[in-house]
């Protein structure tokens, strides 16, 4: 950054870089020149520079060696559990489904009634080779056990609807094959913003409810 500010106020970006000592010589001198005739502004800048020292002085104390060791042990346990529950080859496929399941579970309790015949479920030995390594027991997680790392725009066209536990095979259905019976608010009272787009038919994965 190298601007001659003269009487013009430096931009927030320049003042930030000045406080952090990141300005090149020319730009720094320009800011200093501007500050020279403005004691209030100069005092504010100095206070922000002292704020850095204050943040350092008030930084969190480092946890003890025992706390670090305990945390590392838990991390190793968590990573180990993750490896056991999902095979690496299945992780990419399952990850999208988990994310979608979390979306649905946290948004609302949705009860579904099939309007027509559900599409046939593929026997396990007819599943294409690419997905054959997915573990037979589909993992169903609660919403607070899932963290959506990233979501592409294309992900939003797939929706998993239902509630764990799942006692029957998952079925694929088109939106037109599903009737929404009612929508209930989540535990925090939040109601999902339901939108149905004309002309589109997003694929859905219906999760059969546990038998009552």
């Amino acid at each position: 950054m190298s601007e001659n500010h003269g009487e013009q106020r430096p931009t927030p970006e320049h003042l930030t870089a000045y406080v952090d000592g990141e300005l090149a010589d020319g730009a720094r001198r320009a800011v200093e020149h501007w500050l020279a005739g403005r004691p209030d502004e100069a005092a504010a800048i100095e206070a922000e520079q002292r704020l850095r020292q204050l943040m350092e002085a008030g930084a969190a104390s480092e946890p003890s060696a025992a706390e670090w060791a305990m945390t590392l042990t838990r991390i190793e346990a968590g990573l180990s559990a993750g490896r056991k529950s999902v095979k690496p080859t299945a992780r990419r496929v399952a990850g999208l489904l988990w994310a979608a399941a979390a979306l649905a579970a946290s948004a609302a309790a949705v009860w579904l009634v099939f309007a027509g015949n559900a599409p046939p479920v593929l026997p396990i030995d007819k599943i294409p080779h690419e997905t054959a390594e997915v573990e037979p027991a589909f993992p169903v997680l609660l919403a607070d056990e899932v963290d959506i790392m990233t979501m592409q725009a294309t992900d939003t066209t797939a929706l998993v609807v239902g509630l764990p536990p799942v006692h029957e095979p998952l079925v694929l259905a088109a939106a037109s094959e599903i009737t929404l019976d009612r929508v209930e608010p989540d535990v925090d009272g939040m109601m999902p913003d339901m939108r149905w787009f004309d002309g589109s038919s997003p694929p859905m994965i219906a999760v059969p409810l546990a038998p009552k």
Partner: protein
């Protein structure tokens, strides 16, 4: 004679993060130990500033490391491992804060000083301010709580995570100019808040 075999990925000293991640993918536990040792403190400081609570911050560090290493596919070497990790840790901390309620945790802060806190000398400036370290932490947490979440996260990643403007921009998917602008307004608000309580 016993000959120890060191995988090629970890022969250089010290190994790079990329080499450690390769070793970790090959099942080397010591690679995880080293990655944890390198970034645990920065992760903890970021999480602590976002949560205002020490035990919760450790939980966020734990969650962050697990998620960052489980979802390495999202990292793909586009940024440094540190920026990827702090992105995940700060997300975990904010999620945890939302779940547990930041105001509740802030009220707990300061009630359980760590060993040595009482005797750790303050900097001369702080002594002049008449602040104990615990009081200062509480005050800073209160000040940070007044910032909008995006400003707080930007400020904390830069100040406590020691990330450059560019790295913060990568973490938050924003421009460098936006990072600098957020830092400017965050500092302005923090200064105003603190100036009413202490002589800055």
């Amino acid at each position: 004679m016993t000959v120890a075999t060191i995988p090629p990925c970890c022969r250089s000293a010290p190994p790079s993060d990329e080499q450690l991640l390769t070793c970790y993918a090959e099942g080397r536990r010591d690679a995880l130990d080293e990655l944890f040792r390198r970034y645990r403190l920065a992760s903890y400081r970021v999480a602590y500033r976002l949560l205002g609570h020490e035990a919760d911050a450790l939980d966020a560090v734990q969650e962050g490391f697990i998620k960052a290493l489980t979802h390495l596919g999202g990292f793909q070497g586009r940024s440094s491992f540190k920026t990827w990790l702090l992105r995940v840790v700060s997300n975990a901390a904010l999620d945890l804060g939302r779940q547990r309620g930041r105001r509740e945790t802030l009220s707990i802060e300061g009630s359980s000083p760590r060993d040595g806190d009482g005797v750790q000398p303050l900097t001369p400036d702080l002594t002049a301010l008449g602040l104990e370290r615990q009081d200062l932490r509480r005050l800073l947490n209160e000040a940070l709580a007044t910032l909008p979440e995006v400003q707080r996260r930007t400020f904390v990643l830069h100040t406590d995570g020691e990330l450059s403007y560019r790295e913060v921009a990568e973490v938050m998917d924003i421009s460098i100019g936006t990072v600098m602008s957020r830092l400017y307004y965050a500092r302005q608000k923090l200064r105003t808040y603190l100036a009413r309580r202490i002589q800055l």
